[in-house]
């Protein structure tokens, strides 16, 4: 990435930029009002939480049920490939100038409904694929043994399959949260809500400092979110934690994420 030789111009450019960015964060005016960091941050968080919750409510029961009966594998696995090929930006735009419209939606801001719908669509593939793969990867012998012990469908699901599939199910939700956070940034391209607006506003004003400051906020919180989700996953899953010490390759089973 970085060149071996940084010419003096570029060196001072970085220093100027850093000073500008520090000044930008110290200016209370950049934190207040509709375009301020606080408002955009709240919009962004609200969008991420709402969209992921809706996607979990729809996707998890569907994937767990499909995995339990062992059907629809082709759908569950291919949905991620389809999700990868469709640009988020296009979906957002199609929704916002189409039937859904770009009207304000309460605390979600302009084009709130279009953004929410697009985000739910993008959160579904990782949730469904991971939960389905997790359910199918549960050792068949274990399931058969549980059946042999007289366990019925629901009991088998609750006491054997879901606990064993738990690491991958949570991995899917984690991926969805981080991906939704990243995707919500793109809402700014359709003049939608969220932190991306600080970046696009900076572009319109040709203000590099503002662009970089906005990008730093988004990137920093994305990394924090990822880290806290990894921690949460570890916290929620004592069985997997014990198992991971003996089976280090577990994480490799997670399907590849969709580019942010």
């Amino acid at each position: 990435m970085a060149d071996d030789t940084v010419d003096p111009d570029e060196g001072s450019l970085i220093v100027d930029l850093l000073q500008g960015v520090i000044a930008w964060f110290q200016d209370p005016a950049n934190w207040q009002g509709e375009d301020g960091v606080w408002n955009r941050l709240v919009e962004h968080l609200l969008l991420t939480i709402t969209a992921t919750t809706v996607a979990v409510a729809i996707g998890l029961p569907l994937a767990i049920w499909l995995g339990h009966i062992g059907r629809g594998g082709l759908l569950a696995v291919n949905i991620s490939n389809v999700g990868r090929a469709v640009p988020t930006f296009a979906v957002l735009l199609l929704l916002s100038i189409g039937p859904v419209g770009a009207d304000r939606l309460g605390p979600y801001g302009r084009a709130g409904l279009a953004t929410l719908l697009a985000l739910v669509l993008f959160a579904l593939p990782p949730i469904i694929t991971n939960a389905y793969v997790g359910m199918r990867e549960v050792d068949r012998d274990t399931v058969e043994a549980a059946r042999g012990m007289g366990m019925q469908g629901g009991q088998l699901l609750r006491q054997v399959e879901i606990p064993l599939a738990f690491p991958l199910i949570v991995a899917g939700v984690r991926l969805a949260v981080v991906q939704v956070w990243a995707t919500a940034t793109i809402a700014a391209l359709v003049a939608g809500p969220g932190l991306g607006r600080i970046i696009t506003l900076g572009f319109r004003r040709q203000d590099t400092v503002e662009v970089v400051s906005g990008a730093l906020v988004v990137a920093f919180i994305a990394l924090m979110l990822e880290a806290s989700m990894v921690f949460l996953q570890w916290l929620l899953d004592p069985v997997g934690r014990a198992r991971r010490t003996t089976r280090a390759h577990e994480a490799d089973q997670t399907p590849e994420p969709i580019m942010p």
Binding site: M1, E10, L13, I14, L17, N81, R84, A85, V86, P87, T88, F89, A90, V91, L93, L94, I97, G98, V178, W181, A182, T183, T185, I186, A188, L189, V190, A191, G196, I199, T200, G202, F203, T208, V211, V212, G214, A215, L216, V218, A219, A222, L223, L225, E226, D252, E256, P257, I258, M259, P260
Partner: protein, 235 residues
């Protein structure tokens, strides 16, 4: 009056589908074919250049990570962390250094493709059975010949799987480059944010998905040609 399409279409007497702002519009395809081709060509070259550079960088990184176990954690960790940074933010962070040039978009896309490519090349190489490696060494194969003659061909399915995912994702992500006017078909989408020009949005979106599918099929075909042994074994 938000639905006013660009001026050039208003010249015809009968209001055509462009004036009526219909989603599906043959007139749009005819009159704007030059714009569409230009955007498509830009989209293709940005994607191809990004993935190729990604491949060229990912390969030595994967080799290094395989050679030194400590580096593996670092390489995989860094590229994964990069992946959590939203594209709009990454392009914007690169902007002061690379300017309003295609290189800003390309550097960003290369960084994203690294995550997938490094991981898949590494996995493919690791999956080569130790016996195979040992018999090649026993037959007097040198390091380079072992790598290019034995290990890489065997790792090819994993490498190609990674390449497919990286390419398809890059096609979709290139659209975000429209923020600095180098987003290929994304530029057409970005214009439509203001003029609400429906045929343009639908056409550009569909072309984008078709492009991703075309690249994917091309890579599947290439893999089929490059791995004749997998076919004879199956037959």
């Amino acid at each position: 009056m938000a639905f006013l399409p660009p001026v050039s279409s208003v010249t015809s007497v009968e209001p055509n589908c462009m004036v009526r702002n219909e989603w599906i519009c043959g007139e749009y395809l005819r009159s704007r074919s030059a714009d569409l081709t230009e955007a498509l060509v830009q989209h293709i070259w940005i994607t191809v250049v990004s993935v190729l550079i990604g491949l060229v960088i990912a390969f030595p990184l994967a080799l290094l990570a395989r050679r030194y176990r400590k580096l593996e954690w670092f390489v995989v960790g860094t590229t994964t962390a990069l992946y959590t940074i939203p594209s709009l933010a990454l392009f914007s962070l690169l902007l002061p250094f690379t300017g309003l040039e295609p290189s800003t978009v390309i550097v960003g896309l290369v960084l994203y493709s690294l995550t997938i490519l490094v991981r898949n090349i590494l996995e493919g190489l690791k999956a080569v059975p130790e016996e195979v490696r040992e018999s090649a060494l026993g037959m007097g194969y040198g390091r380079a010949r072992l790598l290019f003659g034995v290990e890489l061909p065997l790792a090819l399915p994993s490498v190609m799987a990674g390449l497919r995912v990286a390419t398809v994702s890059t096609v979709a992500l290139t659209t975000v480059g429209s923020i600095i006017d180098y987003g290929g078909l994304g530029n057409l989408l970005y214009q439509a944010v203001n003029n609400q020009f429906r045929p343009q949005v639908l056409t550009a979106s569909v072309l984008c998905v078709l492009l991703a599918v075309a690249f994917d099929l091309l890579l599947v075909g290439a893999q089929w040609l490059m791995t004749p042994w997998t076919r004879t074994r199956a037959a």
